[in-house]
């Protein structure tokens, strides 16, 4: 057997015993064979990645969305449909919703605590915040704490605008927010701007999605959660 045929046989995984006669007398082919064996061992040693523990949970939701998407896309408003059929994780959605609720409730609670703080500055209503810088508010504020502290209260004192509902309860001068802007929208505290903003729930969910704060997808533990 010549060198070319021998190397073709080596490439095809023919065992060394079959080629022993040639390899014993040809150091080039022998080193070719050894090098390939080493490479294949290295490749076999490569660690294999595994799916995260929430793989089936997310898959189940995704299949449900795919099934519903075919029906729902004609019925839903554009942004709902986009969220519904997009690659949006329901784990993230749940976390984002919880985070929004937390921000609103903590802010509201703190504003109650400071019931004689008079808002200063001009009220500003942001009725259409699509794509603006307000979106990181959820990831920026939500995880900090669940109980107000003096530090957090101090930041609330700097608010230049508060929720109209809270303002009405406190009998302070209510900021003039366009009622149209508050329909299907929420007021939340923006840490960057140091004021309340009005935003749609869509905006907050997208902002939260960008934050990817749940970290669930990074887990590589093997495990099985729910049934498909």
């Amino acid at each position: 057997m010549n060198c070319q045929k021998t190397r073709e046989a080596i490439d095809a995984g023919i065992g060394k015993s079959v080629l022993a006669g040639h390899l014993a007398n040809c150091s080039d082919c022998e080193s070719y064979s050894n090098e390939l064996s080493s490479l294949l061992s290295l490749l076999r040693e490569q660690p294999r990645v595994e799916v995260p523990t929430d793989f089936e949970f997310r898959l189940k939701a995704r299949i449900a969305r795919a099934q519903a998407g075919e029906v729902e896309s004609a019925v839903m408003p554009g942004w709902v449909s986009k969220l519904w059929t997009g690659s949006f994780s329901w784990v993230q959605a749940t976390a984002a919703t919880a985070a929004v609720a937390l921000v609103v409730s903590v802010s509201t609670y703190q504003i109650y605590q400071n019931n004689h703080e008079v808002p200063t500055g001009s009220p500003v209503a942001v009725s259409n915040v699509s794509g603006r810088a307000e979106s990181p508010v959820v990831s920026d504020e939500a995880p900090r704490q669940t109980v107000p502290t003096s530090e957090r209260l101090a930041s609330v004192r700097q608010l230049r605008q508060i929720e109209p509902q809270v303002a009405a309860v406190e009998e302070t001068s209510a900021p003039s927010i366009d009622p149209a802007a508050t329909a299907n929208s929420m007021n939340i505290f923006n840490g960057d701007q140091g004021r309340m903003i009005t935003t749609s729930s869509q905006m907050m969910l997208i902002g939260a999605e960008g934050s990817n704060g749940t970290g669930v997808s990074g887990s590589r533990n093997i495990g099985y959660v729910p049934s498909i």
Binding site: L39, E45, V51, E56, L59, A66, S217, G218, I228
Partner: protein, 189 residues
Amino acid sequence: MDDHSLLAATREGDEAAFQEIVRRYRNQITNYVYRMIDDYDRAVDIAQETFVRVYMNMERYQATYSFSTYIYRIAHNLAITELRQRKRRRLIPLPTFFSDKDSEEVEVDLPDQGQVLADEAIIADERRQAVTTAIASLPEKYRAALVLCDLEEKSYEEISEVLGLPTGTVKSRINRARNLLKEKLRDIL
């Protein structure tokens, strides 16, 4: 129960059967896509999309190929789409120290023999990382053939069905990929 029986059961509404399909293939598919795109989170996402497509097209699936070939084929096409989208977005991560165009950068820096403090585990980890990087730096057509053959341990016939190529082309791509890896990894072979 074989794959086709599980698929038949799934079509009859047996959710546990589809669950078993997912269990059988979830790690294989994720690993294959991960090796193709070198991004774990996206690989998981694409693996999920693969199963969604299998499920949504259950009625149309015909057992022309083995189910394994069928699902790898879907995953492969999704991975290629991802790579093309990345190219368009110019977001392809640069290999850290390998480059196809510059053989000078092929060397892998390992601790000296005399460095007794070097932990074997660290060296092993560096070797694995070097291999990972070398695989990721292969041109995608060679990478796909090599990963399916030498990491996923598929037969030439199955690889040819997954990639839609003649067996001869598959073999030559595998050899080309191995030769490129040998060059890149010369210092640790």
